[in-house]
Symmetry: C2
Subunit: 342 residues, 2 copies
């Protein structure tokens, strides 16, 4: 009807049009207190007429609550951890919060600075970091600080978020492969500023040593398929490596393809095992052995922890993250040694 107003309608304008006070409209929007039917009608009409929408910024300014939590992730991640994020978002939603995702680029140092800016902005009630932030640790919300929870499988000091399930699975993997006759291993690691990557690497080295097996070393260094491909295609022909443990499925897929390209059959000549159980892992050829991490429950309990920190409630019982070894076609018995030793 009327020409476009110069700006969005405010509470006061609605109130004026409805012939009531601004406070009445505010109460109406929050379903507080009883109203006379006539009032309801007039206010509703005015809201509709002006196409009124509450200004969240003004509201947040007064209440100091935004209802928004952010999940932040480092950018150079091959694929965003969708199931983790989805589970976290679902928990947030059910608790009345909205979760947004902020991708923070750059080296670890920069990331911590940008994360601090987010924490200080006052725009967020809590921040869930996927991946470690150098020099920062979990903190509850106070009038001066925004709550921060860190999901990095383990926090920086390896104080367990749940038991060290991570490590135990790696040992199980190596034991299983050893039982199949494998003696010489290779680890393709992830970026070492991820504590989950560090934990896998460390447990790999420890298990190899404790079980009296041989390691041909550690390669890789980021989370990409290319890196996995390079790790295997760069291997000497006589390396005698028969089993490869990759820090994630992308690395493992690259490794499988590299083996294929140099005519090393997987698993007859080389066994490969990944980590994460990507949605496609059971459909690849050969189907990829991997570690299924319960990413849903991981995301869920991290978000529950964050919300407890936001509300200054005691931390909820953390769900035990269950990491489960899944053997598929990419692993098998070690090949018979090319030239028998005795």
């Amino acid at each position: 009807m009327a020409s476009t107003p110069p700006r969005a309608a405010t509470l006061h304008e609605v109130a004026a049009l409805a012939g009531v006070s601004h406070q009445t409209v505010s109460r109406f929007l929050h379903n507080r207190g009883p109203f006379k039917p006539a009032t309801i009608e007039r206010v509703e009409a005015a809201i509709k007429e002006l196409n009124y929408r509450p200004n969240m910024i003004a509201r947040s300014m007064r209440t100091r609550e935004t209802g928004i939590l952010a999940a932040i992730l480092p950018s150079p991640v091959t694929a965003l951890p969708t199931p983790t994020l989805a589970a976290a978002a679902e928990v947030a939603r059910r608790s009345g919060y909205f979760m947004e995702i902020s991708v923070i680029e750059g080296p670890a140092q920069d990331r911590a600075r940008r994360a601090q800016e987010l924490l200080d902005s006052g725009r967020l009630e809590g921040v869930l970091s996927l991946g470690a932030l150098p020099g920062m640790s979990e903190q509850p919300r106070t009038p001066t600080t925004t709550a921060l929870a860190i999901l990095d499988q383990y926090d920086d000091k390896l104080r367990g978020i749940g038991p060290l399930a991570d490590a135990s699975v790696l040992r199980e993997i190596i034991q299983t492969l050893a039982d199949m006759g494998h003696r010489r291993f290779l680890h393709i690691e992830g970026p070492q500023d991820w504590s989950s990557a560090r934990a896998r690497r460390d447990e790999y080295l420890r298990s190899i040593a404790e079980l009296g097996l041989e390691s041909h070393g550690v390669r890789g260094g980021d989370w990409t398929t290319e890196s996995g491909y390079a790790a295997i295609s760069g291997l000497e022909e006589d390396s005698c490596v028969t089993a490869v443990i990759a820090a994630n499925d992308y690395l493992a897929l690259g490794a499988v393809r590299a083996a294929h390209d140099r005519c090393w059959h997987v698993p007859k000549r080389l066994s490969v095992i990944g980590w994460d159980d990507l949605a496609t892992a059971r459909y690849t050829i050969p189907a990829l052995s991997t570690v299924a991490v319960d990413r849903e429950s991981q995301g869920r309990s991290a978000m529950e922890r964050l919300i407890a920190l936001v509300r200054n409630e005691p931390a909820p019982e953390p769900a035990n993250p269950v990491s489960r070894l899944i053997l598929r076609e990419s692993t098998g018995p070690a090949p018979a040694p090319p030239n028998p030793q005795r």
Copy 2:
């Protein structure tokens, strides 16, 4: 030193401590106007002492600018389109905006409603939707509305964002396969509320008809590997389909594996082609033929369009999205007919 203050320091507190007016501190924070060296020193000291951080909410309330754009995506997407998002975020960053990602769950109807809420919240200066929003279309920013750009390969009315590169590639695919002797095709489609999925399906049907080839129909319906697997494993043994065109790489990977499981060699018995050129597509076995969509430039120009809408500038020249057919190991000549016809 001092005990934790009841709440974060404000401009006024800094000003009081430094012995200047709040406005001087504000100016200082924005590098406006010259200052006496002594003033600079005192203000800097006060900011440090109180660990002052400007409250972005209060600032936004006054300036009506938040510097924040959001990319929204529907949730049931197998993997977030990382390259697109990264490119978009980079453009935003360079233009002085911060891009956050909001995942909106639920059916198309709900999504549109939630998107509208985001648009109305006042928290965002612009919204970039990946995927169509029923009943909503691109709009510039006005005092009462938030800018909205939609990236769905093509917008709802198929008014080309750039030329219909999409379609032309599909025709090229079919022509190429026909040249290799293929006569009977199958399309595995994506969800039809995505206009890109619709465009692929429509062009598939049109090309088949115009080139005088046969279609065994259309299967699929979402973007998942499972769906692709089911499409092929459900195929009759005597379907005579020799070429499968999937609407994305996940569907294609499922199709390849299903073929493998029923002992249909890819590509000797069945050629499969995907869409998107996933990072892993060139490493799968067999390496997947696919369509490389320039997702970076797609994300980039969508974000440039959004920023122009936010600033009420004329729309920038859209970069021509170049879709390029990449033939790898999963496609090959059609098999000789099992029983020669003449």
